[in-house]
């Protein structure tokens, strides 16, 4: 199954890269003007022509695409103008920090979802359930950057507990303690902003699991409430949850872009914004493809996990 799914990923990636390149080729943006900046007014005709030839902007679009795609396949996605570094170096330097942030945030979100979702479904209609449902619905409407600004205003500036932004204090070494202190706020904000969907989903699917026959059977055998909920109802409820977590990867990437930008976290997601602001096409295209790979990988892993957890799930399709 995994092989088939990986095979499906190839045309998707090819289509995405072609589409991104086409967008770039059709746009009014001119790489030569960007290369020169303001100095294009002082540059001599011959110099501009030489640069045009070097960058190959006058070649047919298909040739340019072939050159760019060939570079991608051989592991050379070009040179980032906004970072003045090869794209591969930018991604290699920044990807670990993003993975750290997103990993911790996802763990926070899943943990919050399991605890609150189970507690809310356990006493449906109770005060905890009502609070969790209301706050969950409200949080669905709060963009991550609003949450991030609020968190900075309260926890960093108001209470002074945590640093405002960055990876370390100014000029400090990137030691584990420093990074951990700076990680708390962005990871919590990202995790909390992702959690409402997960919490409400766990609650809903646990509620429908509690109405199923095998749970009634467990109750009829006189099992304790705790055993009924945690051992008999929860496992069936968690199966769709795994799929949902996999399907939330795009939102996670989106959230990471916003949160990294607000907290000046030196990850790939904030590089997207910098690349976009300075129209750094090679980096932007590479990062878009990277995000697409992450999304495909997320849904693939979720499918594999649910096939492993539930033997009834068809392993092909």
């Amino acid at each position: 199954m995994a092989g088939r799914r990986l095979l499906f990923a190839v045309p998707v990636l090819a289509l995405v890269s072609a589409a991104v390149f086409a967008l770039g080729a059709l746009s009014p943006f001119d790489p030569v003007k960007q290369y020169y900046g303001v100095q294009i007014f002082n540059a001599s005709r011959e110099d501009v022509d030489r640069v045009r030839a070097e960058l190959g902007v006058d070649d047919p679009v298909i040739v340019q695409f072939g050159r760019w795609a060939g570079g991608l396949l051989t592991g050379d996605p070009g040179h980032s103008r906004s970072f003045r570094q090869p794209v591969a170096d930018v991604v290699g330097e920044r990807l670990p920090w993003t993975l750290l942030l997103v990993g911790v945030a996802l763990a926070v979100a899943v943990l919050v979802a399991l605890l609150l979702g189970v507690a809310a479904a356990w006493r449906q209609g109770g005060w905890l359930d009502r609070v969790v449902t209301a706050v969950g619905h409200a949080l669905e409407g709060v963009p991550p950057f609003v949450l991030a600004l609020g968190a900075i205003a309260v926890f960093a500036l108001g209470l002074g507990w945590l640093p405002v932004a960055g990876l370390t204090d100014a000029g400090a070494e990137a030691s584990a303690g420093q990074v951990a202190r700076h990680l708390v706020l962005p990871a919590l904000v990202l995790g909390v902003s992702q959690s409402p969907w997960l919490v409400l989903h766990v609650r809903q699917s646990l509620l429908s699991a509690l109405a199923e026959d095998h749970v009634t059977g467990a109750r009829a055998r006189g099992l304790a409430e705790r055993v009924v909920v945690l051992r008999h109802a929860l496992p069936t409820a968690l199966l769709p949850f795994v799929t949902l977590v996999g399907a939330r990867v795009p939102e996670l990437v989106t959230g990471a872009v916003l949160v990294e930008e607000v907290f000046s976290w030196p990850g790939v997601a904030s590089a997207v914004v910098k690349a976009a602001l300075s129209v750094d096409f090679p980096l932007l295209a590479a990062l878009t493809l990277l995000a697409t790979v992450a999304v495909l990988l997320g849904s693939l892993l979720a499918d594999v996990a649910s096939a492993l957890l539930d033997p009834r799930v068809a392993t092909d399709g």
Binding site: L157, V257, T292
Partner: protein, 341 residues
């Protein structure tokens, strides 16, 4: 010998009885809750009615939950939306706001009687500015929602009605677009076609039509099995006539709901783009632009610059999705049990 035996039998029957009644009560509890959910009042509350003496168990809802809440959501959501829309249209006009007029004598003033929510870092009054921003954001969102719904409905209808290779190809395109995070694709589009309203609208509309296309396609597929479509085909209608006359009108309600449900997404998307400095041109004071500009001000302690715009943004989003969810529940009851709002 006999005594403990009888005692134990008595005991067990007693236990069994207790369990029995508990079981019955539980069933009644469930029925009662269902009745409450349907009727809205709740029989548990009526005097003289039997109350469940059993221990509460996981998953049984309170009798109070019911359609009363849905009604409340509809009224509150609608009223809030009306107030916000009126405010967005009237306030900037009455207050005589010109977004391009800056007042450097009144920069970053904290909330006071003169400026209820203070001023931003160019001295504009935040109440007027935020409502003007809300108007811009809502207008852009409505535009995007309409465009992407129409586009998605056309693609979905064609895909469902034509079927075969066209269908497969279009659905693969939908899959591919869904495989790229929407905001990222939006950023790419906006980055390459910078600084105009068209770019923002295109970036939102191009990434959000896929949901509508899927919904409309599945609706068309299920409609194709209906007898009246068979009748139309047997009566000699062309494919185009069937689509235009029978299929498209039937998917309008679904598409309209998707359009309304898209609104919060579109607001969200536009605000995020503007916040990152990639969205609407700076002179258009959208909520995202205000928040993006106010970000540095927050670090200087001027928290009020982001407060009102954020509150307006969140309240507007919630109001729109509340109204949309109520509408959807009325029109498509089978989805009521799923995630609401």
């Amino acid at each position: 010998m006999a005594d403990p035996l009888t005692a134990s039998t008595v005991d067990t029957t007693g236990k069994a009885k207790a369990k029995d009644t508990k079981g019955i009560k539980d069933i009644e509890g469930i029925e009662g809750a269902k009745g409450a959910a349907n009727a809205g009042g709740g029989p548990g509350a009526r005097p003289g009615e039997w109350r469940s003496a059993a221990r509460r168990r996981a998953g049984t809802p309170h009798a109070a939950a019911g359609s009363g809440r849905a009604r409340l959501r509809w009224i509150v959501g609608g009223a809030t939306l009306a107030v916000l829309a009126a405010g967005a249209v009237l306030l900037p006009w009455l207050g005589g706001l010109d977004e391009r007029v800056l007042d450097y004598g009144a920069v970053r003033r904290p909330p006071s009687a003169e400026h209820l929510f203070g001023t931003d870092e160019t001295g504009r009054d935040l109440v007027l500015l935020a409502f003007a921003g809300l108007r811009v954001s809502l207008l852009v969102a409505v535009l995007c929602a309409v465009i992407s719904t129409v586009f998605g409905a056309v693609v979905g209808a064609v895909s469902g009605a034509v079927g075969g290779w066209t269908d497969r190809l279009l659905m693969r395109v939908v899959d591919t677009i869904n495989a790229v995070p929407h905001l990222l694709l939006g950023i790419v589009i906006v980055a390459l076609y910078r600084g105009s309203l068209t770019a923002v609208v295109a970036s939102i509309a191009l990434t959000h039509w896929t949901t509508v296309a899927r919904i409309v396609r599945s609706e068309v597929l299920s409609l194709r099995q209906r007898p009246y479509i068979d009748a139309a085909i047997s009566g000699g209608s062309s494919r185009w006539r069937v689509v235009r006359r029978h299929l498209l009108p039937a998917v309008v309600p679904q598409a309209a709901i998707s359009a309304v449900l898209l609104l919060p997404h579109a607001v969200w998307h536009e605000t995020a783009l503007s916040f990152l400095g990639l969205g609407l041109p700076p002179h258009m004071a959208s909520i995202g632009n205000i928040l993006g500009d106010g970000r540095d001000a927050v670090l200087l302690g001027a928290w009020w610059i982001v407060t009102l715009p954020s509150v307006l943004l969140v309240v507007a989003t919630l109001a729109v999705s509340g109204v949309a969810a109520t509408w959807r529940d009325r029109l498509v009851p089978r989805r009521r049990s799923e995630l609401a709002l």
